[in-house]
Symmetry: C2
Subunit: 230 residues, 2 copies
């Protein structure tokens, strides 16, 4: 018999209103899914008996980390939810030159913890058995600094630099890992683009202005299409 | 001197608070964009003097009609906004078997007119000089009936029928026109899929459950990637 985490127990008892004997599906967030039966359920405590393992959904072949500059208000919540739905393997919140919030404020607001809960909830909704990790928010320079990233893509406007390539120029076998950098509402600062160009491909989704909070889902859809994931 | 439509005049005077002599960019929604100067602006009336024509953004090479089953509450607003941003040429709202609203209710609520205003606003935001037309809502059978649609794609779950293909199976030169069918929250009914399969390719975005209101942006991103639009 296994005790569910407090959040999930509360969801089971108060939202789904399940009682002993009812059947559920549980997952450990690391790729394992099981049939289970509720044994005890009371307020914020729930125990289930684990049954047969289920065949979990295959994860994307490319382990993609979305490095997303933190957006205003609850837009970042939506991006985390969508990135999980699209199959990102991890989410790295980035504080960039034009982000309108500081690392200290993110920590005070326990935002990483909030985004991690959103990731759990989104994984459940879309049927993923793996919950992507939301990493500690970090400044752009720190995120981009570990040197050549292999398959790293920084999305910029077409005229942002000389060597910006259309997405169509990306080809070849899908990498094992990839990183995708998406800027904040005001875009990347010129010095960030210079810095990024040293370890990432500068790519563009064309001249139409996409909303900042829609960029990640469009970029991930496009890249996963190129890599044959759909 | 040209009078702006009432909505736009109100936006210019009350939101942007522009006055005579200030410079603006105007567009006719059919691909033409001009520099202009405000001549008179008072409450919901504004006149501008048209100046030089500007080079408008190129439209997508594939004229894509999004046939979207009407979603609940304001989710359909978001889909219209996103489809315009992604470059759809037209939007066909569809009432399907599992749509939770009737044609009569849509008409009473003047929803088409509302969606058309959202399309104008989204075109302005993303810099498109062409405003996609939002067509009159119609039942699925009527929309799908004109026979073979050439490049028509109906998005379904992988197990919805035997001949569902992954998106990666689509290849060949981009068509001049295309239609994309996206279902409502509850998905297409089996008889709709049978009917759709007669004039559209059944395609899937894989086994993850995508939110109904995210399907269009993902599908359009994927198709435009395949057709080299990005």
């Amino acid at each position: 018999m296994v005790a569910l985490p407090e959040d999930e127990a509360a969801h089971l008892t108060r939202v789904l209103r399940l009682t002993a004997g009812e059947r559920v599906v549980v997952f450990d967030g690391r790729g394992h899914e099981f049939d289970a039966t509720v044994e005890r359920a009371a307020r914020s405590e729930a125990h289930v008996a684990i049954g047969r393992a289920r065949l979990a959904l295959r994860e994307a072949r490319v382990a993609l980390t979305l490095a997303q500059a933190v957006l205003k208000s609850d837009k970042m919540d939506d991006v985390v939810r969508d990135a999980v739905m699209m199959g990102a393997a991890a989410i790295q919140p980035v504080v960039s030159a034009r982000s309108e919030i500081t690392l200290a404020a993110l920590e005070r607001g326990r935002r990483r913890e909030r985004w991690q809960r959103i990731a759990v909830s989104s994984a459940k909704q879309c049927g993923r058995a793996v919950v992507p990790q939301v990493l500690d928010p970090a400044p752009f320079d720190v995120v981009v600094s570990p040197g050549p990233l292999g398959a790293a893509f920084m999305f910029v406007e077409p005229a942002a630099a000389e060597d910006v390539r259309p997405l169509a120029a990306i080809s070849g076998a899908p990498p094992e890992e990839a990183a995708v950098f998406i800027g904040p509402e005001g875009g990347w600062a010129p010095e960030e683009i210079d810095r990024g160009a040293q370890s990432a491909h500068l790519v563009t989704l064309g001249p139409r202005t996409l909303r900042a909070d829609a960029m990640a889902v469009v970029a991930l859809s496009a890249l996963f299409t190129i890599w044959g994931e759909f």
